[in-house]
Amino acid sequence: MNDGNPVARLSTSAAAGMLLWICRTLLGALVSYPILLAIRASSMTSGPDGDSVLFQPGSLLLLELLRIGGPWLGSAAQVALLLLGLSAIFELVPLAMALDLLWLPGRSLIERLRRALRLFPKFIALGVIALLAQAALLLVASLLGAALKPALSSADERLRSIAPIALFGLGLVACAWFGGALDIARAMLVQRAEHEPSERGARAALADALICLRRRPLSVLFGLYPSVAGSAFAYLTAAWLLTRFVPTTSSSVALALGFGAHQLAVLFAIACRVRWLGAALELSAESD
């Protein structure tokens, strides 16, 4: 890593961020395509005002699209969901490349791709374990909420409705925490691929990451916190700017402003994630 040179470190992070953004944009275009086809097939956008009619105040024609195009949109959403799942798996490749780039800058893109593809099965194994663990955490939170329901039956109305939400929120925090450990395990795999290729697998990396989590819980939790909060901030800022200052018209300026604001938000969120990935590499290196 470029520990001593902030400029080099920044340019490495920027390169990793751009790599992730390009992949996310391409995959996003793929995932959204079925929905777009369904919207166009509904004829709701074939008028002289194009699709701007869908964004008119009051949403009369947006609701008409949902009414008329409901069946198509439902089917398209299912296809999009499938593509989303596949894309999420495929995104592990650019993620491995980004980690590799952050850990050891200077390699060629082809070499990084080769190394990322070698790590891909281990990343998938890690992802499956993490997914199961996170699902279990959320299930426990939901079951606790359900178990509390009878006990709270005579409690204040607000407590009755907030308690299950708060429990689920705690479950989400635990999931995020586990997600942090997952990133550390990924970082370990990338680092170990450098020194001891193929010797230690995903389970060992996850076990080591959990040890790191046990030893430095706050570093993991609070290291992840700016990434999550920063993403939320970026998306909300884009939404606020667009609702405040950009009219819902079909003008190309409005369209360009919308695209720009949205992509800046995505880039900012990715930058926050890259910052955390750097921290995960550091935590991984320290625990090794």
Binding site: L27, V31, S43, G50, L60, G85, A88, F233, L236
Partner: protein, 666 residues
């Protein structure tokens, strides 16, 4: 440790900023209220406002409430005037509470037992009449001679006939005395108890409405139906445990407390029902709004809901006063039931309405509290003052009131009258259209409440489609003109029992016969409408080519290339499907960017739009202002020869996919 602190600080700053942004996004509805919040002075004078109703049935009731057993012991004196043109030999009583007596009643039995709420009775309720005598008579118990069940329904006791010992001539009065005892059910729809919360509606033996012809408009209580009664004065004394807060129809004249019980005396003049609620946990707020003392009863910790309800009344009461004539009563009570008694919410009684919603209803961009409060307040006109037969013609109150609600909410919130946040706004008009679109042929709107196939069908047609019919008419004839016509109707028939014929009469005089025809067809004849275009054609007009013999000999003229044509002949055919005829505007767009408007009065089934001009016709848009809300399918109202790549949808769909990938991806 330094890094942990740094991360924590950055995260906290981002979180705080996110919270501020979220708040701003929910506060910014993305819609602006309509510029005109109150109607302008009408072009023609309003009809004079009646100050009181012709009283037919007035009630004096003494009721003792047992909160533990959920029982009410009552005595009742009815002052009845035969204002009809016929001699009466019988009376008809509605015992609505008997609808909850057992699972075989018309209300609770399958398939309509689910009714509006979907809940059946868990503990049953009923009303027992102990004795019915004529005051000043020989003491004979008339109740002994009653019919034992509702007409043609041995399982139902909600609609009972009582023969009179002597005929009652037109103009004669009759004073009746009753003793009765109620057992309240566990809350079914709007009546009953949950824990110590009680909502007491349709609780006393009540005379059916006497029509001018001398017949009683009586009916068994059906799960899809509401009520119908004569105007009168109500003097009601409630004896309740002192720990209970009570809200009731009318004004509280006095309150005395002794031995842990309170005697509350209420008076309500010129009303046609009396309902009340009692709960030992109610909190209360009062405020004077537009000359009316408004009181809100609400559960603990729901101050925000109470404030939202008062804010709704602050806007809607003056709005409705201006639109439909001043609210004539000194008090208005709003009851927000606790969430365990949500079935009691969203109901109207004279001078008392119930609202509802969980404690967090005011959070986010939705206007649920405003919607329900404004709707129920509107019923003070469309039910309260215009006491139509809700059983026979439910659209006259629910449908017209849904229009009034949408009109008031859009005057207050603009296009975000139902939801407004994150730049997205959803209006009441759009929702009414969504719920009723393409349902026009299902059933006729003007049928009785019990005749609808399901309550969902009634909801879509009586509430949403009626409102959409009226909104369409308002958009076609001009909102101000239509609202004035509706205002004439509400003023002319104030304190009366108007029918659909009365309404049509006003529309005939204030609008025109075409409006009445459209209304009649849309409401009574399942008429629908769908404008559509299928193709655009353009042909270049060029000088005639060929071989021509002229005075100077034979001449050969070659065809001009299409691009050299100076003129184009363009045609588009607009079709009208359905039997409803409404005038419509058609907007033509040409390649050079110019636009033209054509008007079609809606007659015939096709309309050829021809144009000769220097530019090709590239687009057509039928009803560009979306006035015909009844149009069954808006996706076929336009055509464009230009590309349809939906750039805004593309951009937003991409962004949404990126967000989802960010949330679900690695």
């Amino acid at each position: 440790m330094r890094r942990v602190t740094q991360d924590l600080l950055i995260g906290v700053v981002f979180s705080a900023l996110s919270a501020l942004l979220l708040n701003a996004l929910f506060a910014h509805t993305g819609a602006t209220p309509a510029a005109e919040t109150a109607p302008r002075k009408p072009a023609t004078a309003w009809p004079a406002l009646a100050e009181s109703a012709p009283k037919v049935a007035s009630y004096v009731i003494e009721a003792k409430f047992d909160s533990e057993r959920h029982r009410i012991a009552g005595s009742e004196t009815i002052h009845f005037v035969n204002r009809s043109s016929a001699t009466l030999n019988e009376l008809w009583f509605h015992l609505y509470l008997n609808a909850f007596k057992n699972d075989k009643t018309l209300f609770l039995r399958s398939p309509f037992g689910a009714g509006r709420s979907g809940d059946k009775a868990k503990e049953y309720g009923y009303v027992d009449v102990k004795k019915l005598t004529i005051v000043g008579g020989d003491g004979q118990d008339l109740w002994a001679n009653r019919d034992r069940h509702s007409p043609d329904d041995p399982d139902d006791e909600t609609d009972l006939r009582v023969p009179l010992p002597t005929p009652l001539e037109p103009g004669q009065t009759l004073e009746l005395s009753l003793e009765f005892e109620d057992q309240l059910p566990e809350l079914v729809e709007r009546t009953g108890f949950v824990g110590s919360f009680h909502f007491v509606g349709q609780w006393f033996p009540k005379l059916a409405r006497l029509e001018p012809s001398g017949t009683f408009a009586h009916f068994s209580f059906h799960a899809q139906s509401e009520f119908y009664a004569d105007f009168g004065d109500y003097d009601v004394t409630l004896d309740v445990p002192s720990a209970f807060q009570v809200g009731a129809t009318g004004s509280r004249l006095s309150e005395t407390t002794a031995k842990g019980r309170s005697r509350l005396v209420y008076h309500a003049a010129n009303v046609h029902d009396f309902a009340w609620t009692a709960w030992d946990r109610f909190e209360a707020r009062s405020e004077r709004i537009a000359g009316t003392q408004v009181r809100v009863l609400y559960p603990p910790h729901q101050e925000q809901n109470a404030e939202a309800e008062l804010a709704s009344v602050r806007f809607a009461l003056p709005h409705f006063n201006a639109r439909y004539g001043a609210y004539p009563y000194p008090t208005l009570t709003l009851v927000h039931p606790p969430d365990v008694a949500a079935n009691a919410g969203g109901m109207e009684y004279p001078t008392l309405i119930t609202t509802g919603g969980p404690w967090y209803s005011t959070f986010g961009g939705g206007h649920f509290i405003d919607v329900v409060t404004t709707h129920e307040l509107g019923h003070q006109w469309f039910y309260g003052l215009l006491a139509s037969n809700e059983h026979a013609e439910p659209f006259l109150d629910e449908g017209f009131n849904s229009y009034a609600e949408a009109d008031a909410l859009e005057a207050r919130y603009g296009s975000g009258s139902v939801f407004g946040a994150f730049g997205l706004s959803v209006s009441s008009t759009a929702l009414n259209r969504l719920f009723s679109a393409a349902r026009g042929e299902d059933e006729k709107i003007t049928q009785g409440a019990a005749d609808f196939a399901t309550f969902r069908s009634l909801g879509a047609l009586v509430y949403s489609r009626t409102a959409t019919v009226l909104s369409t008419l308002a958009r076609v004839y001009g909102t101000e003109r239509f609202n004035h016509a509706l205002g004439v109707y509400t003023r002319k028939f104030r304190f009366q029992h108007p029918t659909s014929s009365d309404f049509m009469g006003v529309m005939q005089s204030e609008l025109d016969s075409r409006a009445v025809t459209a209304l009649t067809m849309a409401l009574s004849e399942r008429a629908t409408i769908d404008y559509l275009v299928r193709e655009i054609s353009n042909a270049p007009i060029s000088a005639a080519a060929g071989v021509f013999d002229g005075p100077s000999g034979r001449e050969q003229k070659k065809s001009e290339a299409p691009h050299q044509a100076a003129q184009y002949s363009s045609r588009v055919v607009v079709y009208r499907h359905g039997t409803l005829q409404l005038p419509v505007e058609i907007e033509l767009g040409f390649e050079d960017g110019t636009k033209q408007r054509r008007h079609w009065d809606g007659s015939g089934f096709t309309f050829n739009v021809d144009n000769v001009g220097p530019s090709e016709l590239v687009s057509v848009n039928v009803d560009p202002e979306q006035r015909i809300l009844l149009d069954d399918d808006r996706s076929n109202n336009w055509l464009s020869t230009q590309s349809n790549d939906a750039p805004q949808c593309r951009e937003r769909a991409l962004y949404a996919a990126q967000l989802l990938l960010g949330a679900s991806g690695p």
